[in-house]
């Protein structure tokens, strides 16, 4: 088990290293941060060179890369070109908002998808199934920005029930969570449904029924508990990418999340923030993956992580 975790972490290191290379060189293909900084004013060549020197951009690329790598090892991604704040601080500042949104979105998607998925599977082929599926698909049939704007117009502007943006009280979390949750729930409901269908064909469900316990006990305690496994995997991975930020939802709802931080950094070509942010995301993704894998054993006693079990 420990060996397994270590092995996975070593893989993470490899992936992170590869990403560091990729990110470092690819963003340097997309324009010059100093030019962006001088998008007004009177940038003489010398002034630009000066700034470039001060930011360390005049050094040979490999030297810059080595400096970046060195920082990486100590979790020091350097300072933002723009705000001159340590990148790590900028990321950590947003951890709360990001986490809140990720949790909110996940909860909404669970609230929608689990009942819909379960009922659809249990009543497979019925009218309930039909409408359940259509309903869960609606969420993924709209572009997310459109969905977000519509929710704002309906619930904030017209009905005046909820605030439309910002990161303040819990009520501010509702609309962005619904937007994210609707999108997620489409896929999730589908997954729940198909896992449930699979599980309900299993012999042990018949066994449970043959014990004379109630239908819902069979469905929830026996079928659903087993159908949870692929669902948890999906949710875990999805949660990982939510932590990485969902730029559009964050933008629409003025949510100070990591996604927006990175997108703004990309727009400003703020190299340290892009690099730090992307590496941070990569690590989050891999770690979440790992946690998801490890958490299997909580739900399914059969899975002892170790040996050849790597997805």
């Amino acid at each position: 088990m420990i060996a397994y975790v270590i092995r996975r972490l070593l893989h993470t290191v490899l992936v992170v290293f590869a990403i560091s290379l990729l990110i470092f060189f690819s963003i340097r293909l997309t324009g010059d941060p100093v030019t962006v900084m001088f998008s007004a004013g009177e940038p003489t060549k010398e002034a630009i060179e000066e700034v470039r020197r001060n930011l360390g951009l005049d050094q040979p690329l490999y030297v810059q890369y080595l400096i970046f790598l060195k920082g990486l090892v100590t979790f020091d991604f350097g300072e933002s070109f723009r705000s001159h704040m340590p990148v790590m601080d900028l990321i950590m500042e947003r951890a709360g908002a990001t986490l809140a949104l990720a949790i909110g979105g996940t909860i909404v998607s669970i609230l929608i998808a689990f009942p819909v998925g379960i009922i659809s599977a249990v009543k497979r082929g019925s009218i309930v199934d039909f409408f359940g599926r259509i309903f869960s698909l609606i969420g993924i049939s709209f572009p997310n920005f459109w969905l977000g704007i519509m929710l704002i117009l309906i619930f904030a502007v017209n009905l005046k029930w909820l605030p439309s943006s910002g990161f303040e009280g819990p009520q501010h979390l509702i609309l962005p969570s619904i937007t994210l949750g609707m999108i997620l729930s489409g896929i999730l409901a589908r997954l729940v449904r198909s896992s449930m269908l699979e599980v309900m064909n299993q012999q042990y469900v018949s066994t449970a029924k043959s014990k004379g316990i109630s239908d819902w006990a069979v469905i929830i305690k026996h079928a659903f508990r087993n159908a949870l496994l692929p669902t948890i995997t999906f949710l875990g991975l999805q949660f990982g990418s939510l932590l990485g930020g969902t730029v559009i939802v964050e933008t629409i709802f003025s949510w100070p999340g990591i996604g927006r931080l990175i997108i703004d950094a990309i727009n400003q070509r703020d190299y340290p923030v892009i690099q730090g942010g992307v590496i941070f995301l990569a690590v989050i993704m891999v770690v979440v993956n790992l946690i998801v894998d490890l958490s299997y054993s909580l739900i399914d006693p059969r899975i002892k992580t170790g040996g050849s079990g790597r997805a």
Binding site: A3, Y4, I6, R7, L10, G306, G307, S308, R310
Partner: protein, 336 residues
């Protein structure tokens, strides 16, 4: 019977590694699926392998065909060591050794027409002429009792028995010398089972085939085979002529196995030997004789020392400490 071995298996081992360690490269444990199996198969005979689930029957069969790479040991087919052949030579050799699988539902590609399935070996073995192939397919289909109309259908349109015929046709078309039949009838209904067994026997007569017949059904093995090997946990524990085995099983395991056979008539009540405990795991076999924890005739020596497969009578080999004495007698009396 002319004693001309077509296949000699010598000390064959197949271990499956259980990977672990930091880079997943270190082998933590091994499943000793086949652990030092030796036997000869003679031309034209049917050699049966019986044993409980997981004892390594299929693995033995597949290793002989090198569908699995052997860990150790020699497999001499007509004197040539298969284990040494290059991949490509092995591929060519498969013309001569064929296999029929247990599950007629899983062993046919669901998306290939029967015609294509049966034809495939010919393509692989370089028969380029389409008409020639078509002719051969028709020929072999007729031999196994399939009609021309059926050739253009897909497997799901066939019953289990018919599918097994398709599998047999596929194995036959390259005119092999040896066919390994891995539980060819255990997935079939009784009434269909006899159809297939009869067909296999017909074909054996017609083409002088040699079979290795793997099964866990003792009555079927008795009916179909000439000589039988009993496997337990990756090892051959007894090899004998069928009558000799069924009349006087020597190994306690074989004895228990035969006694566990359900009776064929309600009034014929047998004295059963009920074995205690379960089949142990091949990744962690017991010390000494691997059967000793379940053995009802267990001696002290069994717990520590591995017996080896030795002849007790002519054509009756057993791997058990009980027959240590007998073995010595033979060893002095016979010169083999």
């Amino acid at each position: 019977m002319t004693q001309n071995p077509i296949l000699q298996v010598q000390d064959l081992k197949k271990y499956f590694p259980i990977k672990g360690g930091v880079f997943g490269k270190k082998t933590l444990k091994q499943v000793k699926a086949v652990d030092g199996v030796s036997f000869d198969v003679f031309e034209g005979e049917t050699f049966g392998i019986v044993g409980e689930s997981g004892c390594g029957k299929s693995t033995t069969g597949r290793t002989i065909l090198r569908l699995l790479e052997p860990t150790e040991g020699k497999i001499l087919f007509q004197g040539r060591d298969i284990a040494e052949l290059s991949k490509n030579d092995m591929r060519k050799l498969r013309k001569d050794i064929q296999i029929i699988f247990q599950d007629p539902f899983a062993s046919l590609n669901p998306r290939m027409k029967i015609q294509e399935t049966i034809e495939e070996p010919l393509i692989n073995f370089g028969v380029t002429d389409r008409n020639e192939r078509e002719k051969r397919v028709l020929e072999v289909a007729e031999q196994v009792g399939l009609t021309k109309a059926q050739l253009s259908r897909f497997p799901h349109e066939f019953s289990g028995g018919q599918r097994q015929r398709i599998g047999i046709a596929r194995a036959l078309i390259s005119k092999p010398k040896l066919i390994i039949a891995d539980e060819p009838v255990s997935a079939l209904d009784v009434s269909i089972q006899s159809q297939v067994l009869n067909l296999m026997r017909d074909l054996q007569k017609e083409f002088g085939l040699t079979y290795i017949f793997i099964s866990h059904d003792l009555s079927v093995v008795k009916h179909f085979c000439d000589r039988i090997g009993v496997m337990y946990l990756g090892k051959m524990v007894e090899v004998a002529d069928k009558n000799s085995l069924y009349d006087t099983p020597l190994h306690p395991y074989a004895e228990a196995l035969l006694s566990a056979l359900p009776s064929s008539h309600p009034l014929q009540k047998k004295q059963r030997i009920i074995l205690q405990g379960d089949v142990p795991s091949p990744s962690n076999p017991p010390s000494g004789c691997t059967f000793h924890p379940r053995c009802f005739k267990c001696l002290d020596v069994c717990k520590t020392e591995q017996p080896s497969l030795q002849p007790v009578h002519e054509d009756h080999l057993v791997s058990c400490h009980l027959y240590q004495g007998a073995k010595e007698q033979i060893a002095t009396g016979e010169s083999r």
